[in-house]
């Protein structure tokens, strides 16, 4: 019973904190636990300019729930320009634009399980490298 009550309290607290983070517009860039990146490299990763971290191929993924925030804060551009850049990249260099995930949970799951994966979410997560 005590355990159940504790779980309920902790869940409610976590939900409240998560909600507060989302409201505050926080953004956290995460990478697979085996991938080390610096905050200054994030822009290049999401523009296809940086494709490798050491010998590991980087796999950036977009997050529909956070993309607008990410593009304006980290990339300093809107979705039209971002899409245009990737159209040219794909055409000239044969690169694939980042796949789109629909939520923080999907991004966390993908980044945790995929070597070289890099994504962004609205609050911190465990089991991944926090880049920013």
């Amino acid at each position: 019973m005590k355990a159940t009550i504790l779980r309920l309290i902790s869940t409610a607290t976590f939900a409240l904190l998560a909600s507060q983070n989302a409201v505050a517009g926080d953004l956290v860039v995460i990478a697979n636990s085996g991938t080390n990146l610096s905050a200054g490299e994030v822009r290049d990763v999401f523009l296809g300019e940086k494709q490798f971290a050491g010998s590991t191929k980087l796999i950036p993924v977009d997050n529909a729930a956070q993309q607008e925030n990410f593009l304006s804060k980290t990339m300093q551009m809107n979705s039209v320009k971002y899409s245009g850049i990737w159209t040219k990249k794909a055409f000239r260099d044969g690169l694939s634009a980042p796949a789109m995930k629909s939520s923080d949970a999907e991004v966390i799951q993908f980044v945790k399980s995929t070597p070289g994966a890099v994504g962004y979410i609205g609050s911190s997560a465990s089991g991944v490298n926090i880049v920013k």
Binding site: A3, E49, T87, A90, F91, R92, G94, L95, A99, T114
Partner: protein, 421 residues
């Protein structure tokens, strides 16, 4: 009786022992059940989570081969461009018709095979001025990425001079204007340079102080000028077009080129300045009179794409050497500048282009598109969405009177509906 009583007593004892056993077992089970329940509360979810993670990792490993084919995990996407339009002009010619037209359908695939190996395949379908549909293997290139600073491609590529040729090429929806600068058009549509090449191309980018250095270095089959009638000598009525020698170099003289640029960051983010050059021997295929010219081009480009401005400018200087005759070297040049400003979904733009091509230079004299000209373009583009654009463009073209060529002037209007996917 005693026996019976003993037996009865014994039975009572057995029943009591049996009851005690059942109670013990039941108690044990209950205690065990409680323990299991306690574990469930504390650890069962954790164990399940661990199992799920392990299964997920296994699945990832099992599908990693497939994932390499597409990082999106959604198969191999098919991209492409297509455009249709309407044209009218003050002086229609067979190569400059009026009316509705179908532009091109260009499809491309960019599969990855592991972390380092990739390919680009681009079949293209377009309508010729004669009204037939031409199919072309626009690009077929296989690459190996060594690092962020080096990718080497082999196959048929878009020749990486300047900016326009590799930046837009058949992607009408990507370029702001309807028309390419004429001298940078495709070999059979007015271009004076080999827009395609079969060979090797190394490209990369690396950081340098406040910006990035970009480079392209390439070597491949030099083009030839394919005459309309190879059995007759080149003349004003028998001119040719550049042929990229897809199946092998006809004169075994490689074409070499480079394009080195600097991309600024910070306050000048969006500005790129580059220098490019190209060298190689070009023959014609006329059996009666073979001309060989050493094509030698050097020039540069300045590109600015920021703050809703698009400024594109490229310059090509030629100093070609006559290797089959004794006319020496001949200088020519070609250039354009285009400026556009995006106002939400609208982009008005203007472009000036000019070529001064020496007719003593066999390289230009033998080409149907080797006539000097000046052209001014004024246009307006409207983005219906990120993938579709409507454009209208007015052009004023003046072709110069030169040896063997007559002056031609006309005005045209083009509309275009272009999409990219």
């Amino acid at each position: 009786m005693l026996t019976t009583k003993w037996v009865t007593k014994k039975g009572n004892v057995q029943r009591k022992l049996g009851n005690l056993f059942y109670v013990s077992v039941l108690g044990g089970l209950l205690i065990s059940s409680t323990a299991v329940k306690a574990e469930t509360d504390a650890e069962h979810l954790k164990n399940l989570e661990n199992k799920l993670d392990a299964m997920q990792n296994e699945l990832t490993q099992m599908t990693s081969g497939m994932a390499h084919h597409s990082t999106s995990g959604a198969g191999l996407p098919l991209h492409g461009f297509m455009d249709v339009g309407f044209a009218s002009n003050s002086q229609a010619t067979p190569s400059n018709p009026k009316g509705f037209y179908v532009g091109a359908l260009s499809l491309y695939l960019a599969p990855n095979f592991g972390d380092n190996i990739k390919a680009l395949v681009e079949p293209n379908f377009e309508v010729t001025p004669e009204g037939t549909v031409a199919t072309d293997l626009e690009r077929l290139q296989i690459g190996y990425t060594f690092s962020d600073t080096s990718t080497v491609w082999a196959g048929r590529i878009h020749t990486p001079y300047g900016y326009w040729n590799t930046g837009f090429h058949h992607g009408a929806q990507m370029q702001t204007s309807v028309m390419r600068p004429r001298f940078l058009d495709f070999e059979d549509k007015g271009g004076i340079l080999p827009a395609h090449m079969v060979g090797l191309w190394s490209a990369g980018k690396f950081k340098a102080s406040t910006g990035k250095v970009t480079y392209d270095v390439y070597a491949g089959n030099g083009p030839k000028v394919a005459m309309t009638d190879p059995t007759s000598a080149p003349s004003p009525t028998n001119l040719g077009t550049l042929d990229i020698n897809l199946a092998g170099d006809n004169n075994h003289q490689a074409m070499l080129g480079f394009n080195v640029g600097y991309e600024f960051t910070g306050q000048l983010d969006g500005l790129r300045i580059a220098g490019h050059g190209l060298k190689g021997d070009v023959d014609d295929n006329a059996s009666a009179q073979l001309n060989k010219t050493e094509l030698s081009m050097i020039g540069g480009s300045v590109i600015y794409l920021a703050n809703d401005w698009e400024v594109l400018s490229e310059y090509y200087g030629f100093d070609d050497n006559d290797k089959s005759g004794s006319t020496g070297s001949h200088k020519s040049w070609a250039s354009y500048a285009q400026i556009g400003k995006s106002l939400n979904d609208w982009t008005p733009y203007i472009r000036f282009e000019r070529t001064v091509l020496s007719q003593k230079d066999n390289y230009f004299a033998m080409q149907a598109s080797g006539q000097s000209y000046a052209r001014q373009s004024l246009g307006l583009r409207y983005n219906l969405n990120q993938n579709a654009a409507l454009k209208v463009e007015l052009l004023n073209s003046n072709f110069m009177a030169e040896v063997g060529r007559t002056a031609v002037s006309y005005r045209s209007v083009y509309t275009q509906y272009a999409i990219g996917f």
